[in-house]
């Protein structure tokens, strides 16, 4: 009985992603800008996993929170001259989390197609609002050329080689991952899994289903906001693309490809997708879209649990021999 209850214990291979992350810093010094983008995307996908993979809420509008965090940092820097990065992260998390709390409380009264559509609407609403209030947000062109104070006053953002950006993103990802991992193994996280597996049953055991969903949605939004903030810190600009359907659909695809509800699916999916996209999409963009589309159709039909799901299936087949 005791080992069953010990699911949350750390296993040795859980150190691997972080070791690999640090190794990349030394092994690929010229690819750190790309690496930083990958880290930001992993964090974004991780936040989506909390609502989608664990709470089972299908959303096409998660970029709303990524964008909220990004614009918070951008606007603080541009209009208030507030360029301290760590407090910017906190502000981004708070703003995005608040928007997530409000929109979740209101949207999660619906489900199915209506909910999906409303998540799209919320994101489109924010996107057009950013377009309209261009005095605040820089409109279509956004706010380019932002620069930020050194992290903790010590580590300057390295515009040429992205060294501090990469390590900064890695550190933030690590901190957020610790939070998500703890949440997932907590009773709260287990109840989210219960809600996803059988919402009827959860009501019948007296769980406050909607409250749990809204809280999960808000936390996930805050994390997505942090990802958006790191994005702006690292790249120095923000524009409407942080709020678009492309980014929202992209992170959904990434999470599914890696495997949702698996904590590390975000890592696998983001690395796989972005490496492939980086190499193939530049050369043959239309062929990339065609291949991606076909891949998605195949995944939906045959491999809905992504890479992790396929690994599970293989493992089961081998141990059955």
């Amino acid at each position: 009985m005791q080992e069953l209850a010990a699911r949350h214990r750390l296993r040795w291979w859980e150190a691997l992603p972080w070791v690999a992350g640090l190794a990349c810093f030394f092994l690929f010094p010229t690819y750190l800008a790309f690496g930083t983008q990958v880290l930001v995307t992993i964090l974004f996908a991780l936040s989506l996993d909390l609502v989608l993979g664990y709470a089972g809420i299908v959303t096409l509008g998660h970029a709303a929170f990524f964008g909220a965090g990004a614009y918070t940092v951008g606007m603080l820097a541009t209009h208030l001259g507030w360029t301290e990065p760590l407090s910017g992260l906190l502000a981004a998390a708070l703003v995005a989390g608040l928007i997530g709390l409000l929109s979740g409380w209101v949207l999660l009264r619906t489900h199915g197609l209506t909910l999906l559509m409303l998540t799209l609407c919320t994101m489109a609403l924010l996107e057009q609002a950013a377009n309209m209030f261009s005095g605040w947000t820089g409109g279509f062109d956004g706010m380019p050329g932002l620069s930020f104070k050194p992290i903790l006053g010590l580590f300057e953002f390295d515009v040429l080689f992205f060294r501090s950006q990469y390590l900064y993103a890695l550190a933030v990802l690590f901190a957020c991952f610790v939070v998500v991992r703890a949440l997932v193994y907590s009773p709260f996280g287990r109840s989210l899994t219960g809600i996803r597996e059988n919402v009827l049953r959860m009501h019948a055991v007296g769980a406050p289903v909607r409250a749990r969903q809204v809280i999960a949605y808000a936390i996930s939004a805050a994390l997505a906001g942090v990802a958006g903030a790191v994005f702006v810190h690292a790249t120095g600009f923000v524009n409407l693309a942080v709020l678009g359907l492309e980014r929202a659909a992209g992170v959904l695809i990434i999470l599914i490809l890696g495997g949702h509800g698996r904590l590390y699916g975000a890592f696998v999916g983001a690395i796989l997708y972005m490496v492939l996209e980086h190499t193939l999409s530049k050369a043959y963009p239309t062929a990339w879209q065609l291949g991606l589309g076909l891949g998605l159709m195949l995944v939906a039909l045959y491999a809905r649990n992504g890479v992790f799901g396929m690994a599970d299936a293989l493992r089961r087949r081998w141990s059955a021999r």
């Binding site: 996280g189 055991v205 007296g206 749990r212």
Partner: protein, 262 residues
């Protein structure tokens, strides 16, 4: 450790669970027709009737899954008609479903742990891992033990034979430490070779709990029930002790005289 520790609002000699003139209709279709029903503490009560008589609907009305068109549901003298399902669970009503409603991808232990955690108010905790909540895990393990499911504790529910899944369904309901337990056709789908496990489980239910069981298996009904209610077309057709019901000619007519020769 039971739910609903508030002082009983029940008047002297009142029932633990009661409905008064409970009605529910879908347009012209009357699925519950002026149902007056009483369940005493410690009762062993069976609800029988032909298919489509409205028995599961009645359970849905009792638990709050369905709202009545009129009438009242009272728990311990308190009017709970307007209360949502989750709140009634906290007050002490638990049910099992006719078709298993389990967390199929999770282990048996986890299934019961989720229920126990909710009952203990620990379901929303974010700080400590679920596995470290020893009170929850031990209580869940104890429940699995009483239902002889300990060997399956680590197996995924989806991998269990249907009969054992049915037991998990009961374990979850018991994990909620209910005062009232509503079992919707617990024997349904269990092959007769395994039904003794279920019978033992039901016989072993704590004496203080009021149990209402919907069943078609007359063997089980007559072995278990102290009182039987017969429901036909959404209305209470007859009620009494097993001997009275068995002797009731109209009840026999309704069942075509087959199953009641116990």
């Amino acid at each position: 450790m039971s739910a609903g520790a508030a002082a009983s609002a029940r008047p002297q000699g009142g029932a633990l669970l009661e409905t008064r003139a409970l009605c529910r209709n879908f347009g012209a279709l009357q699925v519950a027709n002026n149902v007056d029903f009483r369940l005493e503490a410690g009762a062993r009560h069976a609800l029988i009737g032909p298919n489509g008589a409205g028995k599961t609907t009645f359970i849905n009305l009792l638990t709050g899954v369905l709202a009545p068109s009129s009438g009242q549901v009272l728990l311990d003298g308190e009017d709970v008609t307007r209360l949502a399902q989750a709140r009634r669970v906290k007050r002490g009503i638990a049910r099992t479903f006719q078709i298993n409603q389990l967390f199929r991808g999770l282990s048996v232990l986890e299934n019961v742990c989720i229920a126990v955690a909710e009952r203990m108010g620990a379901g929303g905790g974010m700080l400590r891992p679920a596995g470290r909540r020893t009170e929850v895990v031990e209580e869940a393990a104890r429940l699995l033990d009483t239902l002889r499911l300990s060997a399956d504790a680590g197996s995924r529910v989806a991998e269990l034979p249907y009969g054992r899944q049915r037991l998990v369904e009961i374990a979850i309901a018991l994990g909620l430490s209910p005062r009232v337990l509503l079992l919707d056709e617990p024997a349904a789908g269990i092959p007769s070779a395994e039904s003794h496990i279920l019978l033992d489980a039901i016989a072993g239910l704590p004496r203080e709990i009021a149990v209402l069981i919907i069943e078609h298996d007359m063997d089980l009904v007559f072995r278990f029930a102290q009182r039987i209610t017969v429901m036909v077309g959404g209305s209470v057709f007859a009620e009494g002790t097993p001997a009275e019901i068995a002797a009731n000619r109209e009840v026999r007519a309704v069942y075509l005289g087959t199953a009641l020769d116990a």
